[in-house]
Symmetry: C2
Subunit: 176 residues, 2 copies
Amino acid sequence: MALGKDYATQACCIARALEVVGERWSLLVVRDAFYGVRRYNDFLGHLGIPRAVLATRLQSLTQAGVLEKHSYQESPPREEYLLTELGRELWPTLRALSVWGQNLIDNGPVYIFSHLDCGTDLGEYGECPRCAIAVPAQDVQMRPGPGTPGNPDNPVSRALLSPHRLLEPLLNDQQA
Amino acid sequence: MALGKDYATQACCIARALEVVGERWSLLVVRDAFYGVRRYNDFLGHLGIPRAVLATRLQSLTQAGVLEKHSYQESPPREEYLLTELGRELWPTLRALSVWGQNLIDNGPVYIFSHLDCGTDLGEYGECPRCAIAVPAQDVQMRPGPGTPGNPDNPVSRALLSPHRLLEPLLNDQQA
């Protein structure tokens, strides 16, 4: 059944948000951007989705102002995708969804998130229980949890076997 | 392009959560359940979606343990849908999505949420700034905000022109 992308009858902020990030795979693309994935082939390898879907999602997230393209190579021209300030404000949503999703899995979380400044694991609402502040994404450190697959088949998952600060570029060749 | 409902290659909690609530309209059905909508016709009138889509979403959310059916009439048999404890734990996700969605609209929020006990408007992370606690859905009061349409065309939106406690049945005939 074909359903349009917008929610024309719904005036609310939630409906508006879902028009931008509610399409299939969109929030997983945004999640990867928080993990530091920036390049098409890295998204592709980690997400394992059809190329056309990834290209469409990157384009619509860019048009909506959630991602922005930056050139990292001139010849041939190559671009990478970074979260904008608007995009980075999706962290509380992803964090809440991740906490809720832990109800649905058996293994424990794939990744554990902590406050970079003090090392304390984040609380249920994305707060640092020790510092009593809401921790923005750039101050969050992630590390593998009990649900992490032991032998990942793609470079992104392998890189995430080491502790990593959110939003920092993930793979070595992206740190140039 | 047909995309399956699951994210087989994605082990993470966010992907698992999206398998349950990531389908189109699902989170708006859950939102309505937080607002106190319980009956098929009320969801239908408020959401304005095709009957088949609503029926499928109610069924899959029930199968996933987010909603549960309760009989409220025996002859003819009639059932209503209530959030389970698992479903009620989606409040932080909806709250975060709603806060983010405010970036995307011009009018200001359709509804404003406050802590029932003290009347203080919720902060950005769903906390009560005065009591310094994360406020669970059952302790949240909603009231119309600047973005509320003046003359709503359906009973749910009309009922929500008055302040209302989340999760309490919304329409008068549901309070029997």
